[in-house]
Symmetry: C2
Subunit: 338 residues, 2 copies
DNA sequence: CTGTTAGCGCTTTCAC
DNA sequence: GTGAAAGCGCTAACAG
């Protein structure tokens, strides 16, 4: 902490008034305490002159509010979460809040300890991308009286406000597009972790297949790819699907989609002639790729602002808890890969 | 702040000892205060049983250390800065620090106010991506006794530890590669903001041109592109350069490089036949593009860990200030665009 | 070995 | 209208 920072008492002394008075003025409570305009102005001027900056640590200790919200994402380096962090930063800062972040790497132990650290730092609220395995821990969080919301996915069995893309709908629309182009055998690629957002996408995909009457319960067209060593695992899955004469591929997220493009380039698979593809998410690379990739873009901005809005509603009125799940529609972007 | 959280006095009462004792044990000072193993264990057990979590706000107020470091980037949604944030998070968390971030959007007013907010929140140190226009403000920061380092670029006239990619070298190597492929007239595209990192890249480019004996001081081959409305501005610059019969393009950063690829795709410009290109930075899209793009990748991880290392050196030993600039070598990645 | 106590800087009653 | 003082939860110096 910087030494010799000017504090309330310094400006009180300089003006020969009490700290209480200065505090009132500087926290905008001059009126309700009927402090004279004159004095108030003098205080404010002196504060500016001395460059006073309130010590939020002390204020927080006293008021029980830190003005900080904690954000737990899977990985801030992932542009999807980076964008989310940015929108959350924007919304929070409008309301005078700062954001502290942590990356869980889809690891429940990491998530739990990040949340614990945030709690001990007295964050006023939490925005959490829950991970598989942290259900019990998060269920307990509800006993602490700290407001939180989930974003991007829900946590199985944990009753809490959740803001997600309509993943089922996205999976359905993407698959439907493939079918409308005449595809008969659509393979799906997804992480093998039980992430609820990914499984909804697959449900949408399967539901669409069923409605089109080309769902074969006997043959498994869903390729689960390890989260670790994804690249090799994905490649062998692709080979298998190709051998099984699939005519279209559905990728459940951007990492899978992007890596598959590299594979197709390196191995002379021509899109959309040899195989048609679609993917969830809309990273920059999908627009650059040749051909450009048809995809379902998530409404990151709307999700983020909705999350913050709900969080602050809870902060101000903790009784108004509804534990709803909000499904926000994404955006089907048709390009040239199918 | 969560109500009814268990605090030191609760566990002290439960054990019928004093808070001081409990504090000592829980902050690992049991030994040096010669507290009996037995009692220490009882305290720790009870703390765990009650689920004690120290209130860092109170601790911070008392000790004058918040355990928070502030990170100011241009935009956390930009994958380059997202990655940087992640590496900084990793390093900081090893040392028990949390990171709070803010995005300046290359706007000095925003940067200044973010830093001020961080200061009032008593961050222990700052990692700053300085922007054009904040020089005076940052110079003043040196008077506050808070350690900080610059990363990604230096701030003209502000004496402080700075960690950068060797931008000159990168600009030189990229240009040199183009020349070795027989290019005679290389145009360069760069933001019109006076970002020190970008100008070093251009200096490297010019220096290489000079050494190759193809630098024509009379003809301006450097196209400065507005940061705002970059896309249209870039496109008209490209058209101009094409008209001027340039045979190669050098892009000073990823945004410029990526957008140019879209332009070339949409307008039937064939790379590398019509024109050869190279770019700074290595976004995912450069690998996906057809052809893939030759580029100079910045050593984000090394920069981040170096920055944190230096920051913590200063934190622990504020006398050891050297105000050096560290230039870290990047990585030339040769692909198919030239 | 363990208890007591004085603050860290701020807000907020309550007196005057 | 303004001042005094208590106390947020914790640490550290000092007694005992």
């Amino acid at each position: 902490m910087a030494k010799g920072r000017v504090k309330l008492v310094d400006i009180a002394k300089a003006l020969d008034v009490s700290v209480g008075l200065v505090s009132c003025v500087l926290s905008g409570k001059a009126k309700e305490n009927r402090i004279s305009k004159n004095l108030a102005k003098k205080v404010i001027d002196k504060a500016n002159e001395l460059g006073y900056q309130a010590n939020q640590m002390a204020r927080g200790l006293r008021t029980g509010k830190s003005g900080i919200i904690g954000l737990v994402v899977a990985d801030i380096a992932n542009p999807y979460f980076g964008k989310m962090a940015r929108f959350i930063e924007n919304e929070a800062s409008k309301l005078g809040y700062q954001v502290m972040f942590g990356s869980s790497d889809e690891d429940s132990n990491k998530l739990n300890s990040i949340v614990n650290v945030f709690l001990s730092r007295q964050v006023d609220g939490l925005v959490i991308v829950p991970v598989n395995g942290s259900e019990e821990f998060l269920k307990n969080l509800k006993n602490q009286s700290i407001p939180f919301v989930f974003i991007d996915r829900y946590s199985e069995g944990v009753d809490a406000e959740t803001i997600c893309t309509d993943n089922f709908e996205g999976g359905y629309q993407l698959t439907n597009l493939l079918i409308s182009k005449g595809c008969k055998k659509v393979a799906a690629f997804v992480y093998d972790t039980n992430l609820t957002n990914n499984s909804e996408r697959i449900k949408g995909y399967e539901s669409c297949l069923k409605n089109a009457g080309i769902y074969d319960g006997n043959e498994d067209l869903v390729y689960e790819v390890g989260f670790k060593h994804m690249e090799q695992r994905l490649e062998s899955s692709i080979k298998l699907a190709l051998k099984n004469k699939c005519d279209a591929f559905f990728f459940a997220n951007n990492a899978l989609g992007v890596h598959s493009i590299k594979y197709f380039k390196d191995n002379g698979v021509t899109i959309p002639n040899d195989i048609k593809i679609v993917s969830f998410d809309n990273p920059e690379a999908f627009q650059i790729a040749e051909p450009s990739i048809t995809c379902y873009e998530q409404p990151i901005e709307q999700m983020s602002s909705k999350a913050i809005k709900i969080l602050f509603d809870k902060l101000e009125n903790s009784s108004l808890v509804q534990n709803r799940t909000y499904l926000l529609p994404g955006n089907l972007i048709v390009r040239n890969s199918c």
